[in-house]
Structure formats: structure tokens, C-alpha cells
């Protein structure tokens, strides 16, 4: 217990880093994932195929492997970036595949009449998607999106091995220095993560209540 109090500043710094890392990656994943979903429902076969290929490849690759590639592979291609940015890239690119599938299932859940009505008043595919379908689709998939972002926050722990000093890294360092306090440290950091994930779940429940599409 004393260890937790003594190292409170370090732990809080770690969780702040976790929060930054997760938030920036989440925005990146949301934008890229929505773009990929739009590609996957578009009338253009090459874009559909490219979107499907991206999702199938990335979803079936271990995140740790993507981290290894971003951290150690990119420098070999003269594209090296600092650890934090590499972690954002890895988490964002990985999570985008899951966001894409969630948004796509939302697009499929929007009633057919919506798309038919948009076409009837002469909207193009892009306008139909942007003005009519996606706003409803994203609202209807808020629960799975919330789960995806919770998973993203938990996955950000992998960055600890790749030189980002987020919460799990702080746990790793502190528990190697204080082996006697391992249990207290684990419980403390775990509770921190539970608070973080419950807050995300709560935020999404609030969003859902405000934005839900009543049918």
C-alpha cells in the first residue's frame, strides 16, 4: 500500500500517458475505420476489394507483430518515428479494421427506405452516405464502438515493451524494483484500468442515450 502512495506521481503520469495514447489512437482509428467502411460499401470494385483486403489482413495479425514492425521495421525503411508515434500508428491501424467492420454493420442496419429516399431526391452516393446513412449508422453502432475503444485502451498496454512509459510500463518498472509490493502494485494498476474502462463505457452509454435513433 505504501508503495502505491510513494509512487503515486509516477503512476498518475503513466495513466496520463495511457490516456493520451488511447485517445489519439482512437481518433485515428475512428477516421480511418469510417473511411475504410465507406470504401467497403462503395460502388467501385477496386476500393471494395482494397478495403476488404485491409480488414482481413490486419484483423488476423497479432497486434504485437504490428508493434514490432512499426518500432523495428520502419527504421530499416528509413521511416523511423519515435516510440509514442509508432505506438499510435500500430494501435490506430489495428483498431481501424475493427471500427470498419462495426461501422459497416451499422450501414447495413440502416433501413432500406433511407437510402431509397435519398436516391429518390437525387443525392449522389457520396451525399447519401455522408448526409443520410453514416450519421444513423454510427449512432446505431455506438455500443460495439465503445467495446472497441475499451479494447484499444487495454491493448495500449503492449506499448510498454516498445518504449512508451504508460501505466503498464510503470507497473513493470516499479514491481521489478519492489518485488515485495507486487500484489499491491498489480491491484493498484488494475483498479486504474478498471476505472478507465468503466469511464469509457459510461461515456458511451451517455452518448447512446443522447444520440440514439428511435425507431
Amino acid at each position: 500500500m505504501q508503495v502505491l502512495l510513494d509512487n503515486l506521481p509516477a503512476l498518475l503520469r503513466g495513466f496520463r500517458e495511457t490516456l493520451y495514447l488511447s485517445a489519439i489512437s482512437a481518433v485515428f482509428a475512428l477516421v480511418l475505420g469510417t473511411l475504410l467502411a465507406a470504401m467497403r460499401v462503395s460502388p467501385i470494385p477496386t476500393l471494395r476489394a482494397a478495403g476488404a483486403a485491409y480488414v482481413n489482413i490486419v484483423r488476423n495479425t497479432p497486434l504485437t507483430l504490428i508493434f514490432v514492425f512499426m518500432l523495428f521495421g520502419l527504421p530499416r525503411l528509413d521511416l523511423g518515428v519515435p516510440p509514442f508515434q509508432a505506438a499510435v500508428l500500430a494501435l490506430g491501424l489495428y483498431t481501424a479494421a475493427f471500427v470498419c467492420e462495426a461501422v459497416r454493420s451499422g450501414v447495413n442496419a440502416v433501413p432500406v427506405g433511407q437510402a431509397e429516399a435519398s436516391r429518390a431526391i437525387g443525392l449522389t452516393f457520396g451525399n447519401t452516405l455522408r448526409l443520410v446513412i453514416l450519421p444513423q449508422a454510427i449512432r446505431s453502432v455506438l455500443p460495439p464502438l465503445g467495446s472497441i475503444f475499451i479494447a484499444l485502451t487495454k491493448n495500449s498496454a503492449i506499448a510498454e515493451f516498445f518504449g512508451v512509459s504508460e501505466a503498464t510500463k510503470v507497473f513493470d518498472d516499479l514491481s521489478r524494483d519492489n518485488p515485495d509490493a507486487l500484489y499491491a502494485l498489480f491491484i493498484g494498476v488494475a483498479v486504474g484500468y478498471v476505472i478507465l474502462t468503466l469511464s469509457i463505457a459510461g461515456a458511451f452509454r451517455w452518448l447512446e442515450a443522447r444520440l440514439v435513433v428511435l425507431r
Binding site: 489482413i57 488476423n60 497479432p62 514490432v68 530499416r76 525503411l77 447519401t128 467495446s147 487495454k154 503492449i158
Partner: protein, 298 residues
């Protein structure tokens, strides 16, 4: 379904789609070409970088590493199934002193990062868990033990929720009818609900296997001799990280694609025959109860 978003194309739209296809194709191919040129510039396609993979010794090394990965995944899934059954039974119990602890345990292990759990087990219980690794002949028995038990706790908690959703997806009339002919709760569960729930859950269980297989790569962090870790030895020896990463990614993708398409096939078949099935990606959703199953749309 996507055909609803645009009309059956007329002549002008067909031209536009053709132009779009060409432009889209050029963009996609362009990105690929830039990436490939970049790789080529850095000598990634030099035969020297790929030569190690033609060496039978390196190939055997990779196969052994793959076997370590599969071993960890198999043991973890087997243990997770047991864990999931026990805790799902606890969660469905009528007795609060069984139900409440089960809920707390399930929610805790679903909310904590798997890597944090594995690190904790590795640092705190490495010695106690190494018999598990010795039993399967691992070179790093304590890492194997921590990895497998971590995977068991996380996937077991997710599976417990899946089992609960599967039981809940069996039509109410089934258990009502069973109770009305005088069966006890344990008999209803064992003879009526579980046999039907298993078929409904099978796709979701198989895709949880994909998740577990992917997560064995976390063994990289604690030094278990799985595919990615052994890949590190290869790329450190031959200085060919990009080819090694591509080869290893291809192995994971092939196995997981095969498993996922099996799960999708099974889901379609179950939906057709039983009328309902848990969607395969149900295990991906973390932090809230697994949704109830919608009846088949057809």
C-alpha cells in the same frame, strides 16, 4: 446489401463507375508501388534478405516456433473452456453467494489488460507455474505458465459471458416445457439447455480461439519461445526484419483466416438449421454483456 445505396447504373453512371474504378485502382496500385519501391530501395527484395527462409534449418526452426505458439494456444483454450464453464455456471446460479463472486471475477479479468495480467503472473508466480511449461517441454517453462494462465483467465472470462449468452439464446419455451414435466434446474440445464446452446455458441467459441492464438504473441514480451520471439532471433541473426515480419504475419494470417472462415461457415449452417447463432465476433466486444441473439432474419 450495399446495392441499396446506389441505383442500378445507367450508361452515364457506368462510365463514372468505370472512371472511378480506374482512378481507385490507380490510387491503390500507386500506394502499393510506392511501398514496394520503398522496400526495394532499402534492399528488402535482395535475395540475401530472403535466402535464410530457403534454409532447411531455419524452416525447421520456424516450424518448431509455430508448434510452440499452437501448443500455448491449445492449452490456453482448453483451460479457458473449463474456466468459462465453471464461472458461467456460477453466474447463472440462483444463489447470490455464488453468483456475485462469479460476476466480479468475470468482469475483473475482462477489464484488465491481458499483458498486465501476464506480467503479474510472470513476476509473481513464475516458479509456481513452471511445472505447466515443463509438462509441455518448453525451454522457458515459467514464461509458458504465465502466458497460458493469463490467456486462460482472460479468454475464460470472455467465454463465460459467451456461454451465458448462448444459454439465454435457447428459446424460453424449451426450459418452460422441461420444468413443466417436472425436471429439476440442473436437469433442465444439462439435458435441455446446454445441448442446444452448444450449437448456437460454437461459432463464437471458434472465433475466441482466433483471439487466443493472436494473443499468444504477447509471449514475445516475457520471452516465451513462440513464433514472433523466434522470428526476432532470425532477424537479429540475418538482419532481415522486414522479410521476417512478412513471413510471420503470413503464417498467422493464413491460420486465422482458415479458423475465421470455418467459424463463419459454421454460423451460417447453424443459423440455417437451428434458426439462431451467436455471431462469431461476439468475443471481440469487451466491457459490456454479450448482446442477446437476434432471431434469424430469414
Amino acid at each position: 446489401m450495399s446495392a441499396v445505396l446506389y441505383d442500378a447504373p445507367g450508361p452515364r453512371t457506368r462510365r463514372r463507375v468505370l472512371v472511378g474504378t480506374i482512378v481507385g485502382g490507380i490510387v491503390v496500385v500507386g500506394i502499393a508501388v510506392v511501398a514496394i519501391l520503398r522496400l526495394a530501395n532499402q534492399g528488402v527484395f535482395a535475395s540475401k534478405q530472403w535466402e535464410p527462409f530457403t534454409d532447411p534449418g531455419v524452416q525447421r526452426f520456424l516450424v518448431r516456433a509455430l508448434w510452440s505458439t499452437v501448443k500455448a494456444a491449445l492449452v490456453a483454450i482448453a483451460l479457458a473452456l473449463v474456466f468459462g464453464i465453471v464461472f458461467a455456471a456460477g453466474r447463472l446460479s440462483d444463489r447470490a453467494w455464488l453468483r456475485v463472486p462469479a460476476v466480479v471475477v468475470i468482469e475483473f479479468f475482462r477489464a484488465v489488460p491481458l499483458l498486465l495480467l501476464i506480467l503479474f503472473l510472470f513476476l509473481g508466480f513464475g516458479d509456481q507455474l513452471s511445472p505447466l511449461g515443463q509438462a509441455v517441454g518448453s525451454q522457458v517453462p515459467n514464461a509458458f505458465g504465465a502466458l497460458v494462465v493469463g490467456l486462460m483467465l482472460y479468454n475464460g472470462a470472455v467465454l463465460a459471458e459467451t456461454f451465458r449468452a448462448g444459454i439465454a439464446a435457447v428459446p424460453r419455451g424449451q426450459s418452460e416445457a422441461a420444468y413443466s414435466i417436472g425436471l429439476r434446474k440442473s436437469q433442465v440445464m444439462r439435458m435441455i439447455q446446454i445441448p442446444q446452446a452448444v450449437r448456437i455458441m460454437l461459432p463464437a467459441i471458434i472465433s475466441q480461439c482466433v483471439v487466443a492464438l493472436k494473443d499468444t504473441a504477447l509471449g514475445f514480451v516475457i520471452g516465451y519461445e513462440e513464433l514472433l520471439r523466434q522470428g526476432k532471433i532470425i532477424y537479429n541473426t540475418f538482419g532481415n526484419i522486414v522479410p521476417t515480419a512478412l513471413v510471420i504475419a503470413a503464417i498467422y494470417i493464413l491460420i486465422n483466416l482458415a479458423l475465421s472462415s470455418f467459424a463463419t461457415w459454421l454460423e451460417r449452417r447453424t443459423r440455417r438449421r437451428v434458426g439462431r447463432a451467436l455471431p462469431p465476433d461476439v468475443g471481440v466486444e469487451i466491457g459490456r454483456p454479450v448482446p442477446a441473439v437476434a432471431p434469424a432474419s430469414v
